[in-house]
Amino acid sequence: MSASTPVGPDARKLYTYQELPIGATAVGMPPEKRRTGLWRYIRPRLETRLPPCQEACPAGNWIQRFVGLAGAGELEAAVSALWLENPFPGLCGRVCYHPCQESCNRAELDGATSIQAVERHLADRFLGEDLRPPVMRERTGRRVAVVGSGPAGLAGAFFLTVLGHRVTVFEAREELGGVPRLGIPAYRLPREILDREIERVLALGVEVRTGVRIGRDLGLSELLDQYEALLLATGAWASPPLGLPGEDLEGVSRGLDFLTGLNLGETPDLRGRVLVVGGGNTAIDVVRTLLRLGAGPRLLYRRTREEMPAHDQEIEEAEEEGAALEFLLAPKAIHKGPGGGLVLSCDRMKIQGTDDQGRARAVPVAGEGLGIEADRIILATGEVPDLSFMDGKLETEGVCLAADDWGRTSEPRVFAAGDLGGRPWTVSRAIGSAKRAAIALDRFLAGENPAELIKEGRLARTMRAHLGLAREAEGDREGGVSLTELNLAYSSPSPPARPRRLAPAERKGNFQEVDRGLPPAEAEAEAARCLSCGVCRECGNCYLFCPDGAVQREPGGGGYAIDYDYCKGCGICAAECPVAAITMEAEGGPELG
């Protein structure tokens, strides 16, 4: 405000009632000297908080940003924000189990925002177009080897390349892509999506060497000699013995092997009765694949449907396709049957209490064993990382390599990402872990000590934070924004759009994609349902409602600023903020509850 002259008479004199200005207008003191902000004992703070979707996203996606931009129709900016944090949106838009949506505040209101459908729409809409990362650092010439070309390995290569480093990816097989190519059935992930997204990562200048298995064709120590740092992302492919008598008999195979063989073009022998044992996503993938190939498998699981670790939607779709799921049956041994077939001896189980991890405990019902005859038994009970290539050079933790949240191993130059370095074994966690490892590796190559950065809370977890693209440090407070913090008066109820699915009858005998996402217009409308929890969307409420005109627009856009000379701390801005991006805190003290 510019200086103004006092509008009243001279304050140093005494005036009669006739002489005073009518309406008790200002006498003597210009308005800008009346710093009413001095009355304040609580103050509003404009901030960017952590939306629960982003808190939950294992990949570290900039969800609020890309969904918000998509909802505003700014699709190019949206896909750019998406790709900054995730080079595989077409993959995640299909196979991620979207913990973002489970934590979406809108879920408690009228249904979570279908974030995955928005992600997928953006990915598919720009599938044919060349994407450039919003930032591409100057080349540093530092050489990094990435071992493994699954989502973790390729995402690591992507982030490291964006950060300026020269990356070579080593892949033991001839095909790039890891589990998404060899494990995930095509009805969940059309291969052209994967091909295209890998192609785009490589186009940034990533060198690839396929058919080179570390530990066989090239030693780990040789790699360490040739490269400044390593990112190990070899996944979890080993199938250790289960200790089940008869598991080596002919006709008994492992779930991931079955899927891999099929994806490599082998024709499985499916004659006769097929049993699938297990309750995870691999087991469901195997059952649904078998159904498509014309077999009639029975799936046996030791607990109940409720406890199945497979994702609910996968189980539901399997049931739609006619999968026979049998519960409370635990395999004990496999024998040769009298007719040349196999017999799986099972215990009939019952649920009794919980185990020390809080899961329902299945215990055998005495005297209720049974034998199930089969010609083929597929054990889909989980794989583990193969750590043999490391020659014991690195410390391990359980079945995994010992690695912290940023993938740091016992060797400072070696980082780990994906299934190798920890659970859960999902594509989105693989991408997120690769990103954190790439960020730590970047700081390491710059001569900094990641351990100290972590201790000081200065090691970023996302590319936007690492590159300084987010306006403000996100989540500078613990925990995401909850529904009760939002002012819902500014949002109207609207049910979520329902992503399309192929009808069960049309899925028979083919590997056509089952989940079809949303039509473009619906996806963009769905994006507009986002409540923008904790992130200002420049609605103008604080500016319009402030009784003191103390909220001002930043010149040239970019949000608002509070003029604390005049803010009296009434809190109306915080109350009227739809997105809980204004917090009241004690003047010079802690935040108020």
């Binding site: 405000m1 103004s4 509008v7 005036y15 009669t16 009632y17 006739q18 005073l20 200005p21 009518i22 309406g23 008790a24 207008t25 200002a26 006498v27 003191m29 210009p30 308005p31 800008e32 009346r34």
Partner: protein
Amino acid sequence: MLTGNYAAAHGARLARVEVVPVYPITPQTHIMEKMAEFIDRGELLAEFVSVESEHSAMAVAIAAQATGARTFTATSAQGLVYMHENLFVASGTRLPIVMAIVNRALGAPNTIYPDLSDSLDQRDTGWIQIYVENAQEAHDMIVQAYRIAEDKRVLLPVAVCFEGIIISHYMEPVELLDQGLVDGFLADYRPEHVLLHPDKPMAVGQILMDDAYYTEYRYQQQAAMDQALKVIPQVDREFGRTFGRSWGGLFQAEMMEGAEVALLTLGSLASTARDVVRRLREEQGLPLGLVKLRTFRPFPDRELRECLAGLKAVAVLERDASVGGGGIVYTELARSLFAGRRGGPLLVDYVLGLGGRDVTREDVEAIALAVFQERDKSEIGNPVRWFKVRGLE
């Protein structure tokens, strides 16, 4: 044929009000609806502001008027008392807002029927209060109110008050004023004292520390009220010259020739009382007169004292009560008649018609005759009489 509510709304339309912040409450809501309709149809170029309460309605009215816009609002009963705090701000900042108060008895117990306690209760807020008798007067006085409020000698907000249901909801013949004549009668509002403008910053309603000038500012309001006593009759006369109809200014004294006893009332009761007084004069030759009080703030102390000085008795008929203290008008009138001098007419108060209870000609006649009987008495017991209370003799 118009209801009092619609007649008042038409008055505001003809005054070309520019901002209309209103919160609905029965029996006022028709005013709000009609204003919204005028604006929606393009018959009035104004901003209708939907608010979440009467307190906010008055806050918006204050802000709008402070920018130089002519502002109109309306309310009743609980809505009015909810506005109470902001009424002081409007008068203290000397903003000539006009408000229609459609009188409704205050709860509890709740009713939508009238008495005048809701607006009389606001007597200390610094607002000019004018009470009208019918829809036509409501219509005319909204226009007059702007002329009074905006007069440079006055610059105070004005409330035009009329009884809910009885005036607000029943239809009467109303002659609408001519827009061209109203435009000539009301100049544009061009404030000089309070005018918020970004190019000319001004602090309004400032805080005064210690004793500073609070006393002087309050006296400024009193002085403005004193001026209003002159301005109100002037405006009414000017109105009469322009439109051929006037209402008596501060109060209308009727049939006072030779009167020994006067009935003093306000609002719609004046119509009933006029009829009774006329008949009693014509048929029985009783020396009765009528005073229809119109302006309650400023209270025309001197003018009423002069008018009533020679009477033997004055009976106040009022549809309100200050519980524990008798009728509110009676209390005020007692000051007029007895303050600063000795003697004067016998003063009797009838509290009646509360919550919209019908007051018939027979009721008024009984009162008139009773007070006439008492006119020469020197001792009459309790002069405050709750009329026709069941169980009370």
